[in-house]
């Protein structure tokens, strides 16, 4: 005759080791791995300090990432000590964990004793659904998604590069997106600036972008700067952002931006496009070179096509903007190898992605010095460039 559930539980408990909450309290301070086997919704309501969540339904597949060493001490708990008893038996008998114990009375008894409970910041049910494909990636998971939701990313321009970057960062759940753009939507923008649309011709780009972002993901807070970035406002606008995405179309602003971000120590994900080709690099102040290390001087007007209107393949800013968005996500999450000290060179016609090394210049006029030594007067300064561009028309 099959045993009753009470009998089964009694038999299981007789085969495993149990541990009293008072001992677990001591062991937490010693850094012993504690695993909560309740469902993730239960975990979210509060758990033992430092406990890892491995719901019993996923025990066999996920325990190794929480407790890789099978000979190390491991404590499981649930609400009352029953599910963790079954889980302990599975780990002991099926997976070969040598020192696994189940906490008597579960978190209910733990709370009755007045011990500390950690209430995790977590995602709402809707957020869990929206970001479910992120949560399935171990490098992101809930902790990474919370980092994205906490991140503040400033986009310079809601144009060719800024459009795809803003849309994908919004979709990814970057919590605060700033947009600096003083332009309005023009029909000729729509060949590539996919954040805007035909109904919004003449609308300020910051407003149009906000509308698309909010429609895609209402979680995102949009901060609008309908101004042109210049020396008088740059320090104020850049202050407090975690990452800046540079898609500006002219050299004076690129140098000004570089100098200000070095001073404020904010990483910049920078890209440029022309024709069928794009460049991308990440300038992380003092960890790698800055824009002036790469290009100590701007080119003269005849070699600086940004002075006038130039053609660009419509999909190219999409490609480069999404490479930028990818680098932003990596910087926020602290994963992978960001393109620091490297300039990626994308050739759409050849379908090649090359790269060259970018070295920190020990004599760089900006980043060879301490940030507090960089003055407002010297930011963005180089010989007569704006006059040169203006003269060239």
């Amino acid at each position: 005759m099959s045993p009753s559930s009470a009998e089964l539980l009694r038999r299981v408990k007789s085969k495993i080791e149990e541990v009293d909450p008072s001992e677990v309290k001591e062991l937490i301070d010693e850094g012993v791995t504690i695993v909560d086997v309740r469902g993730s919704e239960e975990f979210a309501t509060g758990h033992l300090p430092g406990a890892k969540s491995v719901p019993r339904g996923h025990l066999e597949t996920r325990i190794e990432s929480a407790a890789p060493d099978r000979s190390a001490e491991l404590i499981l708990y649930c609400a009352s000590g029953n599910r963790s008893a079954y889980a302990a038996r599975t780990l002991q008998e099926d997976l070969g964990y040598e020192r696994v114990r189940s906490m008597t009375g579960g978190i209910t008894l733990w709370k009755d004793r007045g011990y500390e409970v950690e209430i995790p910041r977590t995602l709402s049910a809707e957020q869990r659904d929206r970001y479910s494909r992120h949560l399935l990636i171990p490098e992101i998971d809930v902790a990474g998604q919370l980092k994205l939701l906490d991140a503040k990313v400033l986009l310079l321009g809601a144009g060719g590069l800024g459009s795809p970057t803003a849309l994908y960062l919004a979709a990814a759940g970057v919590g605060t997106l700033g947009i600096v753009d003083n332009d309005t939507v023009d029909l000729s923008n729509l060949q590539r600036q996919v954040i805007h649309d035909t109904q919004r011709l003449g609308v300020p780009k910051v407003d149009s972008a906000e509308q698309s972002i909010k429609a895609l993901n209402p979680d995102v807070n949009v901060v609008k700067y309908p101004v042109r970035l210049d020396a008088s406002n740059i320090m104020e606008i850049l202050d407090g952002w975690d990452v800046v995405v540079d898609g500006v179309d002219n050299f004076p602003t690129r140098y000004l931006l570089n100098d200000a971000t070095v001073r404020l120590q904010i990483p910049v994900v920078s890209a440029a496009i022309l024709g069928f080709e794009g460049q991308l690099s990440v300038f992380k102040p003092y960890d790698g070179p800055c824009y002036r290390c790469l290009f100590p001087e701007p080119p003269p007007a005849e070699l600086a096509p940004s002075c006038g209107a130039n053609g660009v393949l419509g999909v190219l800013p999409g490609t480069m903007g999404l490479l930028q968005a990818t680098e932003v996500v990596k910087l926020v999450l602290g994963i992978g190898e960001p393109a620091i000290g490297r300039l990626l060179l994308y050739d759409a016609l050849a379908a090649t992605l090359g790269e060259v090394k970018v070295r920190r210049d020990p004599h760089c006029p900006i980043c060879s010095r301490h940030p507090e030594e960089i003055t407002s007067e010297e930011m963005g300064v180089f010989p007569d460039y704006e006059a040169f561009c203006a003269a060239a028309g």
Binding site: Q279, P296, E302, S306
Partner: protein
């Protein structure tokens, strides 16, 4: 013969080519060879004093020649020189 990769802004000066071959045993000679074959590139690459313009980066394969031996950096037959002026343009 080494290969020189020509950036978009210099292509009109070399008949629209993306890559050209040039002879020479060092970076200076290879670039001078390019200038001889395509004189319109000279003012864009070199200053009046014959130095490489500071706004033009030249890479031997993937390394900036400024951290090698500059124009004296040796160039082999199989090497690629990348000429790279700064680009802006994000709109």
């Amino acid at each position: 013969m080494a290969t020189i990769k020509i950036p978009p802004v210099l292509r009109p000066a070399v008949g629209g080519e993306k890559e050209v071959g040039a002879t020479g045993t060092n970076v200076g000679e290879v670039l001078r060879g390019l200038v001889t074959a395509h004189p319109a590139t000279e003012s864009q690459l070199f200053s009046g004093e014959g130095e490489l313009n500071r706004y033009v980066n030249v890479y031997l394969n993937d390394e900036d020649v400024r951290v090698l031996d500059g124009l004296d950096t040796a160039v082999g037959e199989q090497d690629t020189l990348v000429i790279l002026p700064a680009m802006a343009g994000g709109r």
